[in-house]
């Protein structure tokens, strides 16, 4: 059931998404929209302790309830496996063990059973009736992270301790970011189908190929016997990159019962069973000369992870190359808590990391009595000092200059509370953004068809970001075929292997593969055009031909003298000329091939204005200006949409979001969308987005690095710096709450 998306012109042109009409009309089929004959419904039973053992599991009452097909748990789920180590970009998952592996509970909500019934309601009712007893212990969900483990050195140069000791001006502070839950509106869902030999899995996933490989291993079947389909996604934010246990449960149940099984997890399970951004605790030490030149930068960070899995939130990701300093050290560590396994969430590592680094830079600017932009410009490096490589394309200075102009930064007076407008106190803050650049390996196929249409396919997926549209654009650009004659097929693991939708890298990754596939298809047309006596260019060699404005002609003659490409196919009675393309992964750095060794990253500058009404302790974000340097922008519409969305998410990160683990039970206590607060429309500031649009040709022929996560990289620090400017309160532990601003922050949250 391929979803056909037909495209209507091209690169950089602001084309609307080609899948838009399907989405607004309800025609887009998401995973849980699949209804199959005889389909059963699964509802998991979750542990109500966070640490301890299951002492008994009694399903007898539940089994007798109407419509119950089976209740699976450790004793009867059948054999499930762990995966072998990941290879290349596939084979990843965060919670590494299969469901129900033992009777030990290590986090609140851990699955202990799954009920399968004729209807969802019956399954839900019976799930409540499964009686589980536990011997529980007090869980560890500490908010202050501590470890005795030796810190791991992530990056190091010079003698940072010594330089810090003798620095003229210093900042030494600790910053915290809380656990955050992705909460895409589409819940994690799967419809699992077993035909006696093979699985078809309709999944809400950001990586169909990875999902296929991991699911095959965990279910113990050959990879060709698993097909994963994810045509549309109601967003993921990283939470749907990898396999989570509910998918394995649903597939095992489908196999056991020989019926399709649908499992959609509940909103409360979203907070416990499918990952989150872990808490980070980061000590940052900056030392400068009296005039603000960095002499030492140290970042020592910890993040929490689950009891069994080692998830590292790489907070130092952007630190080592962001500023010029001869002395630097970044160390990391993880702390195992009774929480579910964390996972990548939009801008993993760099986003919480830059909150700390950029907040510290703002504190430094205050100490130096220097403009925060000037401080950053003063420390702009000429090359990547972590590895000595040149930057492929870096325009951070220009981001600040353009942004400052748009924002009106020159009007800023630095004294706390000194700016006012309409009776409100204004606060202005700014921060740098940085994010990875490069490519994942990707393959693609292009078919040029005799009816004049074309098809491009890739085993990647569109997670709502515009991938369908980008592939159509690339093919149109390479062939001149109108967008409305191009069909894009994605979201199926049986297609040529494509990348996970992660790292904001899909656009950059698919460009070379699609481009090569298009060339390949054109080559096939040349061969067809010269093959045999009846061929259009009988007696000529393929190398004699050229392809111009969709016409195939002799290189030494004008295009008009030739044929339209599909006429060649028609004449030869060939349905389609197919080409395939593949490009390897590329992330620059010292590991790259000699001529390709660059430091490849995206940059940006963000500016935030807050309004503060001390008389009612009301703080709101009123204005955000973002300037992004992420290479060539393939399509400004979805690109802008990504940054705007990130800004809204950043308002939530700075002021609202925090998953609270109840200290005695370990339960995420605000496990619903009323109590876990994200920014609403009313909290959305006016948002101004500018793309510098400098192509980075090291990455691909169009110079597109991709855009998405970068928009969240600086926003929290820009906002909390603005909060300091308005209120005089420096919030080092997110989110910045009312109680922090009115001097009552003893409550509820960790303080330094």
């Amino acid at each position: 059931m391929a979803t056909r998306v037909l495209a209507p012109n091209t690169i950089g042109g602001g084309l609307p998404r080609i899948d838009g009409p399907l989405k607004v009309s309800g025609g887009a089929t998401y995973a849980s929209d699949h209804h199959l004959p005889g389909m059963l419904y699964a509802v998991p039973v979750c542990a109500t302790i966070a640490k301890g053992k299951i002492t008994s599991l009694d399903t007898s009452a539940a089994e007798k309830m109407p419509g119950i097909q089976s209740i699976f748990h450790r004793a009867n789920i059948g054999r499930l496996y762990r995966t072998s180590p990941a290879q290349g970009i596939y084979g990843y998952l965060d919670e590494r063990r299969p469901p129900f592996e033992d009777d030990t509970i290590r986090y609140y909500g851990q699955y202990v059973a799954v009920v399968v019934a004729d209807t969802f309601e019956q399954a839900q009712a019976a799930a409540y009736a499964v009686k589980v007893t536990y011997s529980g212990e007090k869980p560890n969900v500490a908010t202050h992270l501590k470890t005795d483990d030796e810190p791991k050195v992530e990056s190091s140069r010079g003698k940072p301790e010594d330089a810090f000791k003798t620095a003229a001006v210093k900042v030494d502070e600790t910053y915290w970011t809380p656990p955050e839950t992705h909460n895409p509106i589409e819940l994690h869902s799967i419809v699992a189908v077993w035909d006696g030999q093979a699985f078809t899995l309709y999944e809400s996933t950001q990586g169909v190929v990875n999902q296929r490989i991991v699911m095959a291993q965990m279910l113990g079947v050959a990879p060709e016997n698993v097909r994963v389909i994810s045509r549309f996604l109601g967003s993921g934010f990283g939470g749907k990159l990898f396999v989570w246990p509910h998918s394995v449960m649903a597939a095992a149940a489908a196999r056991s019962l020989n019926s399709p099984v649908k499992l959609v997890i509940s909103r409360s399970m979203m907070f416990q069973n499918v990952g989150h951004r872990p808490r980070t605790q980061q000590r940052v030490r900056l030392g400068t000369t009296a005039d603000g030149k960095l002499v030492s930068l140290q970042q020592d960070y910890l993040n929490h992870t689950s009891i069994l899995d080692e998830y590292e939130e790489t907070c130092g990701e952007a630190t080592a190359y962001l500023y010029s300093t001869p002395n630097l050290k970044i160390t990391s560590g993880v702390v195992h808590l009774n929480v579910g396994t964390p996972t990548a969430m939009r801008g993993p590592g760099a986003v919480p990391g830059l909150f700390a680094i950029e907040s510290a830079m703002d504190e430094l600017a205050v100490k130096l009595k220097m403009d925060p932009i000037e401080l950053r410009l003063k420390n702009e490096p000429e090359k990547d000092e972590s590895n000595g490589l040149p930057f492929s394309s870096r325009h951070l200075t220009e981001c600040f200059k353009v942004g400052a102009e748009k924002f009106g930064w020159s009007q800023r007076t630095p004294e706390v509370g000194s700016m006012k407008k309409n009776g409100l106190i204004l606060g202005w803050g700014t921060a740098s953004c940085a994010w990875i650049g490069g490519r994942f390996a990707a393959s693609a196929t292009v078919d040029l068809k005799s009816d004049g249409t074309a098809r491009v396919s890739c085993g990647t997926q569109d997670i709502g970001t515009g991938t369908y549209t980008i592939l159509a654009q690339v093919l149109s650009e390479k062939t001149g075929i109108a967008l409305d004659k191009i069909e894009v097929v994605l979201g199926d693991s049986s297609l040529p292997e494509g990348p996970i939708s992660g790292g904001s890298l899909v656009t950059s990754s698919v460009i070379p593969a699609v481009s090569q596939a298009a060339q390949g298809a054109i080559q096939m047309i040349f061969m067809t055009a010269t093959d045999g006596d009846q061929a259009a260019f009988a007696g000529r060699k393929p190398t004699d031909l050229a392809f111009t404005n969709q016409r195939v002609h002799l290189k030494d003659k004008a295009p008009e003298t030739g044929f339209a490409w599909h006429e060649i196919l028609q004449k030869a009675n060939v349905n389609a000329a197919s080409g395939s393309g593949r490009a390897d992964e590329y992330f620059g750095g010292p590991e790259a091939k000699e001529k390709e060794r660059y430091s490849v990253h995206s940059y940006g500058a963000q500016f935030a204005e807050v309004t503060w009404q001390p008389e009612i302790a009301r703080l709101r974000v009123s204005r955000v200006v973002t300037v992004i340097d992420s290479g060539r922008i393939m399509n400004p519409k979805p690109a802008r949409n990504q940054i705007e969305g990130a800004v809204v998410m950043g308002v939530g990160m700075a002021l609202l979001e925090e998953t609270k683990y109840e200290p005695r039970s370990g339960a995420p206590i605000n496990n619903n969308l009323a109590d876990y607060m994200v920014a609403t429309n009313a909290d959305t500031p006016s948002i101004d987005v500018t793309f510098l649009d400098y192509p980075d040709k090291v990455v691909n022929e169009f110079g597109a690095r991709g855009v998405g996560e970068i928009g969240l990289a600086g926003i929290a620090a820009a906002i909390t710096s603005a909060v300091y400017h308005a209120t005089g309160v420096r919030v080092r532990s997110l989110p910045a709450r009312i109680e922090d601003l009115i001097g009552h922050s003893e409550a509820g949250k960790l303080r330094a």
């Binding site: 008389e615 009612i616 005695r664 009313a682």
Partner: protein, 334 residues
């Protein structure tokens, strides 16, 4: 969610008779009325409410707003919150009520929620809403998980050692400042209860939140005639700009003559175990000049008995700022 029987009442009498079968009208009721369902169904899905019978009262003719001979207003129990908020008389004469309603929930929820349902909405205490925890309100005698737990949003006024849950409604705060009366039809006939007496403090029986007995149907709410010179304001403070319950709110009705306060009614929300009428503030305001410093003193008086918990100490200061500012707004152009 558990299996339940659904019936539709065609008359108030029938509704009363059906609900009269219940052993209690409080937590654990075997029979529940459903109006908009935005509280009830939510809690049924969480297994916090487990009625065996749900009586749909949406067909009862209780959806009108009528003027009373004494100049007051009679508000049907089943008027939707959004309709009530946009009613021209409410907007012109009882602005505080319209503002309170519009500050609550979301447009979708307000389109469903009703006067009586809003009056009876349940606390948002997270432990009440999850059967995995001890909670005296849900299971009397089991203990209160909030006192030593997550209590940032809970009450600082009217609490007991058994329960510190906040009454979350915005509407109730406005109705309290407006001195509303609740009209009830029960198995023994009809009766009127002032909103002040309608809600109960938790004391040692937090499961009992109001005076309703089995069978009791709220039929309408009346408001006394509005005072011609009075101005009213609802101010709600919270973390985000919409779709959040009050951390602190204030409903004030004030009449100013010659720079002095002639009449004042003050109620606080987000801080009390019931919609919190502050007689202390009203007394402190009587006859005073319009002056922010006075308002701050009045706010101090209103919060004098506040008992903060481990995480909600900031609410004391927030409530003071809220009341001070609400009074400032209500007396601005007067």
């Amino acid at each position: 969610m558990e299996t339940f029987k659904y019936t539709r009442a065609d008359s108030a009498a029938q509704a009363v008779q059906l609900a009269g079968q219940s052993q209690t009208a409080q937590q654990g009721a075997q029979v529940r009325f459903v109006a908009g369902g935005t509280t009830l169904l939510d809690l049924m899905k969480l297994n916090v409410e487990r009625p065996a019978t749900v009586v749909d009262i949406n067909r009862l003719p209780l959806d009108k707003i009528e003027k009373l001979p004494d100049g007051g207003l009679k508000i049907g129990a089943l008027i939707r919150n959004s309709d009530l908020a946009h009613d021209p008389t409410i907007q012109s004469h009882y602005a505080v009520l319209s503002q309170a309603l519009l500050s609550g929930a979301s447009p979708q929820l307000r389109n469903m929620g009703t006067t009586s349902g809003n009056l009876l909405q349940r606390t948002r205490c997270p432990y009440f809403r999850s059967t995995a925890f001890a909670c005296n309100k849900r299971e009397p005698g089991s203990g209160c998980s909030a006192i030593d737990g997550e209590n940032r949003t809970l009450a600082i006024l009217g609490t007991s050692q058994h329960c510190i849950a906040t009454n979350p409604s915005d509407m109730n705060v406005a109705l309290t400042a407006l001195e509303a009366t609740i009209h009830i039809q029960g198995t023994k006939g009809e009766r009127d209860v002032s909103i002040q007496d309608f809600f109960l403090l938790p004391g040692s029986t937090p499961q009992k939140e109001n005076v309703l007995e089995p069978g009791d149907l709220i039929t309408y709410v009346t408001l006394p005639a509005s005072r011609p010179g009075a101005k009213s304001v609802y101010l709600k403070l919270r973390d985000r700009a919409s779709y959040e319950f009050a951390l602190s709110s204030a409903a004030v009705v004030v009449e100013v003559a010659d720079g002095h306060i002639r009449h004042a009614r003050v109620a606080l929300g987000g801080v009390g175990t019931k919609p919190w009428r502050s007689v202390e503030a009203e007394k402190a305001l009587e006859g005073k000049t319009v002056d922010p410093r006075v308002f701050r003193e009045v706010s101090e008086a209103a919060l004098r008995d506040a008992k903060p918990q481990s995480q909600n100490g900031f609410k004391v200061e927030l409530a003071k700022r809220c009341l001070t500012h609400a009074l400032t707004l209500a007396t601005k152009s007067a």
